[in-house]
């Protein structure tokens, strides 16, 4: 067994300040692809947040006389058949898609982690009952329910991400529980109990840091799937409707006219792909950064 010594970059004697997070951020910064993903996402967020001030046109602005025009100096990404500026619509669309993606994932994260941790940590009969509930819900055709909800209660934005979040938490709960169960069996949890830590301290200090990796990877998979789910609903005519836009709306409209006006498909498609790839790289990078065992010296 070789003991590789970490380079002593912090020369002070205050060893306690070596927290997992500081180490992780240090390692993440060295991962080029992950940082590229991170900055891309940040830029997308910044643009989405500032869209009302940044957008070159108002989103409902139509110029029917202009019609669909290819990219030009006035309209950097061109216009659609109603003469609406694509860049503007894409920027407003980002607001919807990113918000739906992240908010719904946040909903599923909160419920899923709470549910999965409680079930996995307590175990026994409580675990059995809680996971049975998840199994049962899992077996339901949720897509059908979401469609139903959208039909019945109208195309409400809040409802959309609440509904999606309520579906996605099931998988999150399963993953978290499986992880908690395996961590729970480790001897260092027994060691923590013997030390005298209370259960919430054990969960917070010993369980959580050790389940983060898979959870983060799953988050980066959930966000794209939520964005796609919204697109799917928009395609069926049940999500966001024009003149409002989302990436899903733009892509599905772009598909209809991709032979005549390819830019209407290419730019929204490209934006979605870049986002998904950024998320993927950031997710993998974060997982590696949070695991001291994979540290490159």
């Amino acid at each position: 067994m070789t003991t590789t010594q970490l380079k002593n970059t912090h020369s002070n004697s205050d060893y306690g300040s070596y927290s997992l997070w500081r180490e992780a951020s240090y390692r993440l910064k060295k991962n080029t692809m992950a940082m590229l993903g991170f900055w891309t996402l940040l830029a997308l967020f910044a643009i989405a947040a500032c869209t009302p001030w940044l957008a070159p046109y108002a989103y409902e602005n139509q110029n029917l006389a202009l019609g669909a025009s290819p990219p030009s100096a006035q309209h950097l990404l061109g216009t659609d058949i109603h003469g609406r500026d694509l860049l503007t619509r894409l920027m407003y669309g980002s607001r919807v898609s990113l918000l739906v993606g992240f908010a719904a994932t946040a909903v599923s994260l909160v419920i899923g982690i709470l549910w999965g941790t409680i079930a996995g940590y307590i175990g026994g009969r409580i675990d059995a009952v809680m996971m049975r509930i998840v199994d049962i819900l899992y077996a339901l055709p949720f897509m059908i329910f979401i469609i139903l909800l959208m039909v019945v209660f109208g195309r409400s934005f809040l409802l959309l991400f609440l509904a999606i979040g309520l579906v996605e938490w099931l998988t999150m709960a399963r993953i978290v529980r499986a992880q908690v169960l395996s961590v729970r069996k480790q001897e260092y949890i027994d060691a923590a109990i013997v030390t005298g830590l209370a259960h919430w301290q054990i969960i917070y200090r010993h369980v959580m840091p050790n389940i983060l990796g898979p959870v983060i990877v799953y988050i980066t998979l959930t966000i794209p799937s939520v964005i796609l789910l919204e697109s799917f609903l928009s395609f069926l005519g049940l999500g966001i409707q024009p003149p409002q836009s989302s990436w899903g709306v733009l892509i599905s409209r772009g598909v209809e006219s991709m032979e005549e006006y390819p830019w209407l498909l290419i730019f929204p498609g490209l934006t979605l792909s870049i986002t998904l790839f950024s998320l993927n790289f950031l997710g993998d990078g974060l997982r590696d950064a949070l695991d001291p065992r994979t540290a490159k010296n």
């Binding site: 199994d135 049962i136 899992y138 077996a139 339901l140 055709p141 897509m143 059908i144 329910f145 469609i147 139903l148 909800l149 039909v151 019945v152 209660f153 794209p224 796609l228 697109s231 799917f232 395609f235 069926l236 005519g237 049940l238 899903g248 892509i251 599905s252 598909v255 209809e256 991709m258 032979e259 498909l265 498609g269 979605l272 792909s273 998904l276 790839f277 993927n280």
Partner: protein, 307 residues
Amino acid sequence: MLKFFAARLFQAIPVLFVVITATFFLVHSAPGGPFDAEKTLPAEVLDNLNARYNLDDPLYKQYLSYMGNLVQGDFGPSFRYSNRSVTEMILTGLPITFELALYAMLIALIIGVSAGIVASIKPNTAQDYIPMSLAMAGICMPSFLMGPLLVLIFGISLDWLPVSGWGYAPGDKILPAITLGTGYAAYIARLTRGGMIEVLGQDYIRTAKAKGLPTPTIIYRHALRGGLAPVLAFLGPAFAGLLAGSFVVETIFQIPGLGRFYVQAAFNRDYTMILGTTILLSTLIVVFNILSDILTVWLNPRLTLKD
């Protein structure tokens, strides 16, 4: 095994009951009725229509009579298509959707499992990166983009395959099945790769090598059963996803399946049709989840069937 299947199915009955009840009241509490679209209808005609379908009864009465009919296998008449019953429409739509989902599942399994195995044999080499990047692209590519793209390439530019319908012209089933299957193929490829890499690292694979077995035999006889466990567990949820995904594919390719009926029914507020489809799909998905569970247990001698 039959006993286990029956027990699980029995457990599913209360679940389905809740689903049916919830859907019933959800649909009926919606603002607007099935005949709203026909605004020109005079008041007495509307009353007549409502009376004919018992829509003027108190809700609980409608519920009870619906449940009563349901137990006898009658999903009631369609509100929208006055001369057809829901059972009839489901019977025409279901086989088509089922067939579509089955083909898509086959495509997904064949492509996904083989790509996953290829990638897992030499992880972190080109043999791994190329199929897995394609898989990532496949997951990211929504079917409503995939479908038209395939139509454009194989249907219009190359003119190899028909672009719509189901069973009207030879080969018209290929594009819809591929469109529906690719996303799942990509997902299954990732699951297979993960499962296989884990199994190939196990000691018993080393034992098999030490026996002198060639690589294909090792994979086929020793690794596959363990490596495909995550895929088996995914089959139930995948089937549910395929059924839901068929809505889009059926719309793109104009296939008269259940998914298209459902979307239309949802827009038309065709209560009985919505209810009927929901109940049927829920039951199917529940059954497939149980089958998926049984398969998982059956293939792993360390697990036993118990509830």
